[in-house]
């Protein structure tokens, strides 16, 4: 065995990892063992993964459209009420004018 071989054997020795290495590996293996099964994992990804962003966007857009429709409905209702009031006022004025005319315009 030449000198280089011996030097390399002395340099390249087995080494211990950090003292808590075994504990960490065991903890990680237990965590992985407790993970949900494939179907539940898939459902979790469906609910909380990228699809959540798509669903949230759909809700926001749909909510915006619904709000706009509601606003239009409110505005329409308000306009209707105003028109009714205006018609009532006009009707009252017409009635007054009619009475005046029928009474011969007496003062």
């Amino acid at each position: 065995m030449n000198g280089m071989d011996e030097e390399l054997r002395r340099a390249l020795v087995r080494r211990d990892p950090s003292p808590d290495f075994t504990a960490r590996v065991l903890a990680a293996s237990q965590t992985r063992a407790a993970e949900p099964g494939l179907l539940r994992s898939w459902l979790s990804r469906l609910l909380f993964g990228r699809w959540a962003a798509v669903a949230a966007t759909t809700l926001i857009v749909g909510g915006g459209i619904a709000y706009q429709q509601h606003e239009r409905d409110v505005q329409g209702e308000t306009a209707k009420q105003k028109l009714l009031v205006a018609l009532q006022i006009a009707g009252m004025k017409l009635q007054g004018t009619q009475r005046h005319v029928l009474s011969g315009g007496e003062r």
Binding site: L8, A11, F21, A28
Partner: protein, 183 residues
Amino acid sequence: MASVPLKELTGQSEECVPAFPEAIEAHKAMVYGIAWNFLRDRTVAEELAQDVFLLLHKKWDSIRSREHLVFWLRKVTAHRAIDLARKRKLHPETTLKATDEPTVLERLHDSFLASYLERMVASLPEKQRMVVVLRYQEDLEVEEIADVLGMRVNTVKTHLNRALDLLRAKTAVRLKKGLDSVV
């Protein structure tokens, strides 16, 4: 999961002992040692070693014997270390010229030569480096290295000879520089 005691695998009498933790304790120095001597980065080496044992945990049912366990650990560690080094480009490129100036103690003390050799090994191309690590850390024969790495025997011999030639040349340059600075 790892419910079969290791002693059952070797035909010894059954004992109620946890098998997977025993495997970690028995082989962590080997797995971490290969990773460290190859990558020269403690954090990365520990992460790799942990990943190897977690994969072992997953594949435990496929382990047939104590010898198969050791072979499996060496094979997975070696391949993952090579893949990781290629992805991370961890091996420092060191030419014959680009060596640090040795201190007086480094020229004289054997342990510093070992440290220097470790750094030189870490600068070898990945496959040569792993062949050297398996040869000198694990004391494997060329045929065993070929099995672990999935190479032909002649390919392993070529890698080993080229690596040793390169290491001898680098060491000679280093020693000459040291002697020149002393004289």
